[in-house]
């Protein structure tokens, strides 16, 4: 009773704030939260254009029996782990290389790496697609000119996936550089001065001052990158259409295929739910490990 009264008092005290967020909260509930629950509901149905039949866990059972889905999950895991690791490593490397240079130089570097983020993924993917086109692309032209004929790097199941990973990494790198530079600039200058007086090398400054102090940024970026990369779709759709022979199919692409090509909204919803579970698991693991380190 006392607790309830205390809660009511607290609520009334903050009511202006709650009322201010109410419109946005309503929109959030309608357009973000409701679709999640609707997706969960649909995943238990066989949904056609005009029919909907309850099938329980059948969509999930079929997914786990489906070798293409397993392949898509493994591809996604590779995407997430490699792109996130590369982005963190290179983001830190570039930021630590330029953080103590002039502001003009820093802005230039920041702008260069952020450029891919500003152009759309569509334009980015189409440019890459043109470069790696086996018959008319820049890469094949260069290879032909040095005597290497008839090479299709996108036709190789392993290489095609890594090309897509590179594309995604370059697309994400700009964000890492921006975040790390902002975080490094925010480190108190005294720390660097003290290190200088103690005769610390640049490597020691990076290892013992910068990396520990930017760890909240690392934590934030890793989670963000997980969520972003696991949803990789446009690059796959435009560059490989999941091929050759499903070698570059990701969960999001499979979800799209099931929903809008195979018209199997139930199975697509089940894939969506699985993505939600995987992102949550990866995020929890990342959160726990980074917290333990700190």
């Amino acid at each position: 009773m006392i607790y309830k009264a205390k809660l009511k008092k607290e609520f009334l005290k903050q009511k202006d704030g709650y009322l201010f967020i109410l419109p946005q909260m309503l929109l959030f509930l309608v357009f973000m939260v409701y679709p999640v629950f609707e997706g969960l509901r649909l995943s238990f149905y066989n949904v056609g254009f005009v029919t909907k039949t309850f099938v329980g866990f059948r969509n999930y059972i079929e997914l786990f029996k489906d070798s293409i889905f397993i392949k898509a999950v493994l591809n996604n895991l590779q995407f997430v782990l490699i792109v996130t690791t590369l982005s963190v490593v290179f983001g830190l490397f570039i930021s630590t290389a330029v953080f103590d240079k002039t502001s003009k130089y820093m802005s230039f570097i920041r702008g260069c790496y952020y450029l891919p983020v500003m152009i759309t993924m569509v334009a980015f993917s189409i440019t890459w697609l043109w470069m790696v086109n086996p018959a008319m692309g820049l890469v094949s032209h260069v290879l032909n000119s040095i005597g290497i004929q008839n090479v299709n790097i996108m036709g190789n199941s392993t290489v095609a996936l890594y090309i897509l990973i590179v594309v995604m990494w370059l697309f994400n790198l700009g964000e890492a550089v921006i975040l790390y530079l902002a975080a490094i600039i925010g480190i108190p200058q005294e720390q660097f001065e003290a290190a200088e007086i103690d005769g610390a090398s640049r490597f020691m400054v990076i290892r013992f001052i910068i990396i520990p102090l930017v760890s909240p940024t690392t934590f934030y970026f890793v989670i963000l990158c997980f969520i972003d990369v696991i949803k990789v779709f446009l690059a796959v759709h435009l560059m490989t259409a999941g091929g050759p022979n499903y070698a570059t199919t990701t969960m999001m692409y499979l979800c799209y295929q099931e929903a809008f090509v195979m018209n199997n909204m139930g199975k697509a919803s089940a894939i969506g739910m699985m993505m939600f579970v995987i992102v949550s698991l990866l995020s929890i693991i990342a959160m726990t490990r980074l917290k333990a380190k700190n």
Partner: protein, 471 residues
């Protein structure tokens, strides 16, 4: 908090809430209006009804402009907008909204629209892409707007292709017909003119798979030119892949369209033949990544000597030569697809289907609009493509275009109105890619496709509203 700040906060809050609610209000109003329309069954004669009707038409990007694609500023869908304006003049209560939808986005856009009940009233597209929607009971028959004169003016084979259970589901307007083309100038350059099958400039010649391969071998020596380009990067243009798989007599389906049979000995032979072209260096590299548009572009850029080629490419070539974006000389010899038996090409009807909106007045108005623009005087616009009406086809001046139109008699029915055809085509390409990258043998790839495809067909037959007589 001071009183003034509290008042200011309150005013801001009221403003924000009222803005949000007014947005919902707008949505609610329009929804109510739609529901109101749906409950009414209007008169079949739209002229008599004054109730506002909004018709939405989606079209594949077919030709630019109204009658002449070369007019400055011409764009896709202009013809339907033009006809829509005239239709509205006669039916003041009707508004027509036209949207051009790229072929690659068609399935996804329609799927989303159907599931959110925002499908267009009319869709202009290829017959084989529309039959999945017919099987699902989403398309209404057009029997009541098609006259005997229409039936006589359009070939019976075309009507067969758009009819099921005695109902006509599409009003055919024009056709897309696919063959092959040889760049005669490149053959001359290679000193291989003799290997072009005899026929002459304005004819469509026949050749066997062996003659086809010999011709490709003869142009292999040309620097910077690939003899031919095969593709299986995506589903678009699958008609050609299917015809190539049928070159030794295999058939995609059995006679009644209930079983996929392409994995027989002749299908395997065809696939191995394609692989032999790759092994001999007669194909552009990367078939597993190339798509149909890449292949067209290679030919128009004079990078391939032989290519798949349809009437749309023929128009693109002529327009390019006229606009000097394609360099002369560019003489072509049209050919059927290589076949050990009868000559093969594809011809599918492009026409209009009407989606069941659930509103009788709207559906009837959509049907009337389809009838309106598929008849005189608007039907002449189909000359921008390849007209299906005999009365219009006889006005064609280009002798090769006349031959292309006539060759439709050799067209192969590849989809056979099978339920789930759109899913079938999506499952073919990964198998072709697996074969072309050496991950599967021809037999394994086709067996795997047949297994998946037959499961899709079985499911399609079981769920077909059309086949189960529910509609």
């Amino acid at each position: 908090m001071s009183k003034a700040r509290k008042i200011l906060s309150l005013v801001l809050l009221v403003l924000m809430v009222s803005t949000t609610l007014s947005m919902y209000g707008c949505t609610t109003n329009s929804t109510t209006k739609d529901t109101g329309e749906k409950t009414q069954v209007g008169s079949k004669d739209t002229k008599q009804s004054q109730e506002p009707v909004k018709i939405t038409l989606w079209t594949a990007p077919d030709w630019k402009g109204v009658y002449d694609p070369t007019v400055a500023g011409a764009n896709y869908g202009d013809f339907y907008k033009f006809a829509g304006k005239d239709f509205v003049k006669e039916n003041s209560n009707v508004t027509v909204n036209v949207e051009s939808v790229p072929g690659a986005d068609r399935d996804a856009k329609l799927s989303i629209a159907i599931q959110s009940h925002t499908q267009p009233d009319i869709y202009v597209g290829a017959d084989f892409t529309m039959f999945d929607y017919v099987h699902n009971g989403l398309i209404v028959p057009l029997n009541d707007v098609i006259t005997d004169a229409d039936k006589q003016d359009i070939p019976a084979s075309i009507w067969d292709g758009v009819t099921a259970n005695g109902n006509i589901y599409m009003f055919p307007y024009y056709t897309e017909t696919g063959h092959m083309a040889l760049n005669v100038d490149l053959f001359k350059q290679a000193g291989a003119e003799a290997l072009i099958p005899k026929g002459g400039a304005n004819t469509i010649v026949r050749w066997t798979p062996d003659e086809f391969k010999d011709a490709l071998r003869a142009v292999k020596k040309l620097d910077g030119v690939y003899p031919f380009a095969f593709y299986c990067g995506s589903t678009q243009g699958d008609t050609y892949n299917i015809l190539l798989l049928e070159m030794f007599g295999a058939k995609l389906f059995n006679k009644d369209g209930t079983q996929v049979t392409i994995n027989d000995a002749n299908g395997v032979k065809a696939l191995e033949f394609i692989k032999s072209l790759k092994d001999e260096g007669l194909l552009a590299p990367g078939a597993e990544s190339l798509n149909v548009l890449d292949v067209y572009q290679l030919f128009l850029n004079k990078k391939t000597a032989v290519s798949i080629f349809n009437n749309v490419n023929y128009d693109a070539l002529n327009n390019g030569l006229k606009a000097k974006s394609i360099q002369e000389p560019f003489n072509i010899q049209m050919a059927f697809l290589p076949s050990a038996g009868d000559p093969m090409c594809y011809a599918y009807a492009m026409g209009s289907v009407v989606f069941d909106s659930g509103n009788e007045l709207q559906t009837q108005t959509a049907k009337q609009f389809v009838k309106f623009y598929t008849n005189e005087p608007y039907v002449d616009a189909s000359m921008s493509m390849l007209p299906l009406r005999k009365s219009v086809a006889q006005k064609l001046l280009d002798p090769l275009k006349v031959k292309i139109a006539e060759s439709a008699e050799f067209s192969v029915s590849f989809s056979q109105k099978a339920p789930g055809y759109l899913k079938l085509r999506a499952s073919l390409f990964p198998e072709l890619q697996a074969f072309m990258t050496g991950q599967k043998t021809a037999q394994q790839a086709l067996d795997s496709y047949a297994k998946n495809a037959n499961a899709i067909l079985k499911d399609g037959v079981a769920n077909s509203v059309l086949l189960n007589g529910k509609k």
